[in-house]
Symmetry: C2
Subunit: 388 residues, 2 copies
């Protein structure tokens, strides 16, 4: 009895410490395969049918090596050749950031490709999902993803956006297209929607199956700050993203791409921080946008309190019938495994919409958290509704 | 005397071991600044006015941490907080790959951005050069860099190329442009000419100053293999890059972009392995190309022996006056610090050209090795001559 209690206590301690591996407590299926986002020719990291991640790294002189994924660290085991191997518990389907810890140094896994998220370029892994086909690279007509550098007066800096043009864009010089402005979340950048989000492949596949209209998609960086005056070096930088979007990005896109320059053909959407930003921008400029999408976010975040329509966003939702008239689509989505603050704040926003009689579409992503698979699915849904 | 000899012996051993740091043997200027290719907000790695690289990483439990750059490992020193810091000897101006070793694990530096080269995605650093302005990101008109996915029948795989279209390309739907096909080297891929080579910025700057004609530049992956027959799994894969280039890439580009479909408006160039590949392709298809560029490479590599024109590339250089008639430009370049095999094999090739009376341009990059700065300079030179 004492032995059993000690064992339970030691397991509990290990779990609290976050240092117990799934392999020590449960059966791990031995059907690991190299991850789809490995570097060319690299055998590790691997994923099995349970969604466990197995990593391997040579570190002959290390005392401790860990896999750090989903907020849990998993100890690796060393063999006689100095090769460390270990597994995580099953992960949700979709994309996850992770890193390795080698004797206390947090480093990217040399086997994975790298993605910008969580405020750094680092390792990512893909857990196959039942609906991975929505973003699979297939032999269908492919649009182009173009990188565009531009000088921004509002920030005093060179900035960059990525622009998806649909298949057929180059063929007919007279055809003009609607535009979706699509934003990333906190600690991410303009590379996220292509690198992790696979926005181009989602659109290619939808367009190939006639489920979405051909459209241009513009992905810029949601971090944009006024240059600090030299005399005021300690001031908190002021965001000018709305100014950059309205006065720099949109005119640039309308001048360089064959867009339809009209609110009915311009949509805006974003995830998390981007959902918050784009809702503010859309409501401040309804003369520019007729289609809104909020993926795992709304402008009342993080509050779950009832919204006061008189003051929220300067009363922009006060006249419900006017909002209905203006917005051809108000789309919201959230994953079932997101932290409570997201469904709660989105719920408070939806309560306000219902009280105001404002139409909206609400989508729930089953079994996914505040991560990219929720947002891929959200884009996949949203893109089928816009501009129709 | 014995002490002195022992000291010299121990220094010699340390240098042979590659584990002595520059800081231990010479004065290091204390004017380090964060590298231009750091991740956003990261203070390390840094570079000083001598071209020394300083790295820093937290690894509280590590026994040994090293900076591995230019084939030399430099030991870092640990402070009381588990922070390791150390410097390299001065590096050549330009771009270099590097990595960190943490208790025997070779990993990317979490502070740097990542580049594909040396067969892996890993750390890179930029040592400012006197001529860094040739690829500086400036407020000039910028072309687009487009990523294009396509299915390749010759390999049975989806492949990808990057396509630079010059400033103004979108403005005039009737304008057609010449095309440069530009290839990377061994253990690199289609991302190299943009990521490390800055080909887009070199062209943007040249075009802005009217030093190069507006052109399209296509960068594909030089590794392309026939699918292995299942019954013959041990066969060495056969390269089909020439077939992919001639039958898939060029028709794809001519169909999707506004090119001038004529040999006089089509150039091909490459670096190292890419110079070798593109010389073979150019000489096999002079009906398709009128401009060739070999950056640090030729098709006789690695041989320094006199070339037999009767057999070399099936006698393609035998009729010198015909080659002169066909090639409007045969351009060769090499860096002064490259390993002898490069100048020697290029020298043997040039001797053959002279014996055959074949005109060519020869460029020498001062103070650079078999690295990207040699190739940036080569492109900068070459792009000013083609299509004129």
């Amino acid at each position: 009895m004492i032995v059993n209690n000690l064992k339970i206590l030691s397991m509990a301690i290990a779990m609290v410490m976050g240092n117990i591996t799934f392999a020590q407590t449960a059966k791990v299926n031995d059907d690991f395969k190299p991850s789809e986002v490995n570097q060319p020719g690299k055998l590790y990291p691997q994923v099995n049918s349970q969604g466990c991640v197995r990593v391997q790294i040579s570190a002959p002189d290390a005392k401790m090596v860990q896999l750090d994924i989903g907020g849990v660290t998993n100890n690796l085991v060393k063999d006689g050749n100095g090769l460390w191997t270990g597994e995580s518990a099953p992960q949700d389907p979709g994309f996850h950031y992770y890193q390795l810890n080698v004797d206390g140094a947090s480093v990217p896994d040399p086997g994975s490709r790298y993605f910008y998220g969580a405020g750094r370029w680092g390792s990512g892994i893909e857990i196959p999902a039942d609906d991975s086909h929505i973003f699979a690279l297939q032999d269908v007509p492919h649009g182009l993803v173009s990188e565009l550098n531009y000088f921004s007066k509002h920030t005093g800096l060179m900035r960059r956006c990525f622009v998806y043009t649909p298949p057929g864009y180059e063929a007919d010089a007279n055809m003009r297209y609607p535009v979706l402005y699509l934003q990333h979340g906190s600690f991410e950048d303009e590379t996220g929607w292509i690198g992790q989000g696979k926005a181009n492949l989602i659109l290619d596949n939808l367009i190939a199956h006639h489920k979405a209209l051909p459209m241009i998609v513009v992905m810029d960086n949601g971090y944009a700050f006024k240059p600090l005056a030299s005399a005021d070096g300690n001031a908190r930088p002021a965001s000018v993203f709305e100014e950059v979007m309205m006065q720099e990005i949109i005119p640039l896109i309308d001048s360089r791409f064959r867009t339809v320059v009209h609110r009915d053909h311009r949509a805006i959407a974003g995830l998390s921080m981007g959902a918050n930003q784009t809702m503010r921008i859309a409501m401040n400029h309804l003369d520019h946008f007729a289609w809104y999408g909020g993926f795992s976010g709304t402008a009342n975040y993080p509050s779950a309190q009832p919204i006061d329509v008189d003051t929220f966003l300067d009363g922009k939702f006060k006249n419900g019938s006017w909002v209905n008239q203006q917005l051809q689509l108000l789309w919201l989505g959230v994953g079932t495994k997101e932290e409570p603050v997201f469904p709660k704040s989105i719920g408070a926003f939806r309560n306000m919409l219902e009280q105001q009689g404002i139409r909206h579409v609400f989508y729930v992503s089953q079994g996914t958290a505040h991560e990219w698979h929720t947002w891929r699915r959200s884009l996949h849904q949203y893109a089928q509704l816009v501009f129709k």
